[in-house]
Symmetry: C2
Subunit: 138 residues, 2 copies
DNA sequence: TTGAAGTATGCAACAGAAGTGCATTATTTT
DNA sequence: AAAATAATGCACTTCTGTTGCATACTTCAA
């Protein structure tokens, strides 16, 4: 059994052909991926299936959903041992306004946020927009 | 001349009837407001006009655009002396998953963000999701 | 004062993404 | 093999954001 087949089974997702392909695609990609990205890559397959595949991945903790402020939802595989928990797993996302790519900056965790009394934080989304290192070099 | 008429003129926006009404509406609201919110309030007026009014307000620095992760763009008036600058003016936004409202937490600025070498930050969007103080009390 | 230019508004239409319903197909279980 | 369960594919809808264009309103110079 392949590595990525295990990933699915460990997360209680049945490893269908399409799911394996999508997982592999996400694994190879270094940047966050939109439904349209996936759709364009697998032009034979149906948008709804891909949509539901990504949705399942998020629900089962295989990947996380990213709102980078472009209005287009992105997806990226979770790190090893990620539970998308507010104190340990949340990382910031960088969106490059030049190459239009969105990257998980997993090495830099989100700093501790202070809130006014009475507010309870359940989730934090931090997106930095600017120029990425690749575009910066050019 | 009214206060809000001055706000418009100070920002080089001609104070038309509709713009004054929208500005007043935003001033009275304590929470971030979507185009649809405005549209529902002024049900006589046209969606496009309101859309362009809000757009103009953002372009001229009267209000700022908020992406709270709901997929619906929100708007809120800028504070006095705000220039939406990355180091001074950016504040975090809180989205309550209970009452569904988004609030500017202007008293708590966004902490300093560290990025990997080569990345240039131009803008930062920080949204905390959870339970707001009002909903917490109930 | 009048006409031209510039600006704002209103209506219609479009684009793109997200999401739903339902029939069909595939897989698993009995 | 039949029944139950789950995944897929197609069509369609909803919603937000956006643009094009014709009309109305302002401004300003001749
Ligand atoms: Mn990420
Ligand atoms: Mn704000
Ligand atoms: Zn880039
Ligand atoms: Zn609330």
């Amino acid at each position: 059994m392949q590595d990525f087949e295990k990933i699915l089974e460990n997360n209680n997702v049945k490893p269908t052909a399409m799911r394996l392909l999508v997982l592999q695609f996400l694994l190879n990609k270094k940047v966050a991926t939109s439904l349209t990205d996936v759709e364009n890559y697998f032009d034979k397959s149906d948008r709804t299936t891909l949509y539901r595949t990504l949705k399942t991945f998020v629900e089962k903790g295989i990947s996380h959903k990213i709102d980078d402020g472009t209005g287009i939802t992105k997806y990226a595989l979770c790190e090893e041992n990620c539970h998308c928990e507010i104190d340990n797993d949340l990382h910031l996302h960088f969106h490059c306004t030049n190459c239009n790519e969105t990257i998980c900056i997993t090495d830099y965790k989100i700093p501790r946020i202070t809130l006014p009394t009475g507010y309870i934080a359940e989730n934090i989304n931090l997106v930095v927009k600017g120029i990425c290192d690749k575009c910066n070099k050019k």
